[in-house]
């Protein structure tokens, strides 16, 4: 059955051939002279036979239908089978059935032609596929690193919070925190969270000393390149992050030694920020109320 297509592919099927014949007549499907078409159809079948083409069964069935229609038309009107009276019989009219089929097939054939246009259009449409943008991986180092001044001004903000509370009565605090302890706590936090906001680190501080100690711990870790203080833009909140991998290699060695030599490690750190703190901060006046804060840190490193 399916094989006939190979041998005879000009007409896909009998409906195709019929449409072709109707097109040749240049008339509307509804107005076509089926009797004449029937004759031509059979002529084509004969031609196919002559050319020794295989004729699919569908063609033969169609030829039979056409012959039926033709024979009915041959009869004088009063001798035809009564088909015109009732609606139901109307449906049996082979002409109507055939025309209905032709009209429907034609519609799909036209739709297929439109779909073919789509096919060609799609063939010629090239979607934009941009190459992957190789954005550098966002590492903390790529952000602008916060300068020492940024850090100082940030800690100043924190200290101001305490200055108000502590203003009049200065309690003597037990030094509950050492820098090395803070360093460990800090490292722990940063490893867990990968990035911490600077202000967050001081959230739980109970007094100025603790703030100072924490701050010194930060400075120390920055100096050791174990953490990075980054800032997305000037004056934005500072992010404390774990240092990027290359520095990490260093860090592991430093880390190993750190707990043991915490006290030694702090030593070199202190001088560095110290002068900065005392000189760089504005409005430093040691015991005056409005801004008494900044004088304190450099003077009070009483850690261990």
């Amino acid at each position: 059955m399916g094989e006939y297509r190979v041998r005879f592919e000009v007409f896909e099927g009998p409906l195709d051939l019929l449409l072709y014949l109707i097109r040749k007549e240049e008339v509307d499907i509804y107005e076509v002279n089926l009797t004449r078409i029937a004759t031509e159809f059979v002529e084509y079948l004969n031609l196919m036979r002559e050319l020794d083409l295989d004729i699919a069964g569908e063609f033969v069935v169609m030829a039979a239908t056409l012959m039926l229609i033709k024979s009915r038309e041959l009869l004088p009107k009063d001798q035809r089978p009564e088909t015109q009276n009732g609606e139901e019989e109307d449906l049996e009219d082979p002409r109507w059935e055939l025309i209905r089929q032709l009209v429907e097939y034609k519609k799909f054939k036209d739709a297929a032609a439109r779909l073919q246009e789509f096919e060609h259009r799609a063939e010629n449409t090239f979607p934009r596929i941009p190459g992957r943008v190789e954005l550098p991986e966002e590492t903390p180092a790529r952000r602008s690193e916060a300068t020492i001044f940024d850090l100082l001004s940030a800690v100043n903000t924190v200290l101001q919070r305490f200055s108000k509370r502590e203003g009049e009565a200065r309690d003597v605090f037990e030094d509950r925190w050492s820098v090395s302890e803070k360093i460990e706590l800090l490292l722990h936090t940063v490893r867990e969270r990968s990035a911490v906001r600077f202000s967050e680190l001081f959230q739980n501080a109970t007094n100025r000393i603790e703030v100072v100690v924490t701050f010194l711990a930060i400075l120390e870790l920055v100096r050791l390149r174990m953490i990075v203080a980054a800032q997305s833009e000037a004056f934005a909140d500072i992010q404390i992050q774990l240092a990027p991998p290359p520095a990490d290699a260093n860090a592991t060695t430093a880390e190993a030694t750190l707990p043991a030599t915490a006290e030694d490690a702090t030593e070199p750190a202190v001088p560095a920020p110290d002068p900065g703190t005392s000189t760089a901060l504005p409005g430093v006046s040691n015991e005056v109320h409005p801004m008494p804060s900044e004088g304190a840190p450099p003077e009070s490193p009483r850690w261990n």
Partner: protein, 248 residues
């Protein structure tokens, strides 16, 4: 920081997404991207589109699409199978082929393949028998090809005797033809499951439709005038000449 700058229009934000996307994006994906962008604390203006509705995205895309069409550039914003992307217009294909080579695409469909696929597309879910009724030929081989190419698939079974398998088109069908959705098939309303209406003329007058009006030169329409030109072995003389030609 605080006074967040007025964000660019949604339309342009979507344009930026689609311009840089590695693949076509659905409305849903665009919506999720908007929500994701809104989480960026460093860009407070992105929060403006945090909870954008799908309808708003669709409307903005439609607007963007007509903007681009009106601009008459060499590319358009297209929606294929529900995903949006920028693509060149077909008339630039000769040059783009030089740049990109011919598109890697399966061979074009044969005429029977196209016709069968068209029937499936408009009539889905449809059985093999229904397709054969429309095309008037067996479609076994063609259906096999279409199934293998992934353009159609079995979608269920018809509730008739034998419960034959019904077929429908796949998303690959929409992609292959560059169609947005099945609703966007041309003349879809006309070709869906609507019975062909029997024309007026056929109901009122019986002969004449399939018969050449032999003599009786009824004041002819052009079509009428044409049909009797060479009625060969056409014994329609018995036809009573009562036939007013069907109009139009």
């Amino acid at each position: 920081m605080d006074p967040s700058p007025a964000p660019p229009s949604l339309k342009l934000v979507l344009e930026a997404f689609l311009f840089s996307a590695q693949k076509a994006l659905t409305v849903r994906e665009l919506r999720d991207l908007l929500a994701l962008a809104a989480q960026d604390e460093t860009a407070p203006e992105a929060a403006a589109y945090k909870k954008t509705k799908d309808e708003d995205i669709e409307a903005a895309l439609a607007e963007l699409q007509s903007d681009h069409a009106a601009a008459g550039r060499s590319y358009r914003l297209l929606c294929v199978a529900g995903s949006w992307q920028f693509a060149s217009t077909p008339e630039f294909a000769p040059w783009l082929r030089a740049l990109l080579g011919r598109k890697a695409r399966p061979p074009r469909l044969s005429q029977p393949g196209l016709e069968t696929l068209t029937i499936v597309a408009y009539r889905q879910p449809v059985t093999r028998v229904e397709i054969e009724q429309i095309r008037g030929v067996s479609v076994d081989g063609v259906m096999q090809t279409l199934l293998e190419r992934g353009l159609i698939e079995a979608v269920g079974r018809a509730e008739v005797v034998g419960r034959p398998v019904t077929y429908g088109t796949t998303p690959a069908f929409l992609e292959y033809f560059g169609i947005r959705s099945l609703e966007d098939l041309p003349a879809a309303d006309e070709l869906r499951r609507l019975p062909v209406q029997r024309p007026e003329a056929l109901l009122t007058v019986d002969p004449g439709l399939a018969t050449a009006p032999a003599d009786a030169p009824s004041p002819g329409t052009p079509a009428e005038a044409e049909s009797p030109k060479e009625a060969p072995a056409n014994p329609t003389a018995s036809e009573p000449p009562t036939v007013p030609p069907p109009e139009s």
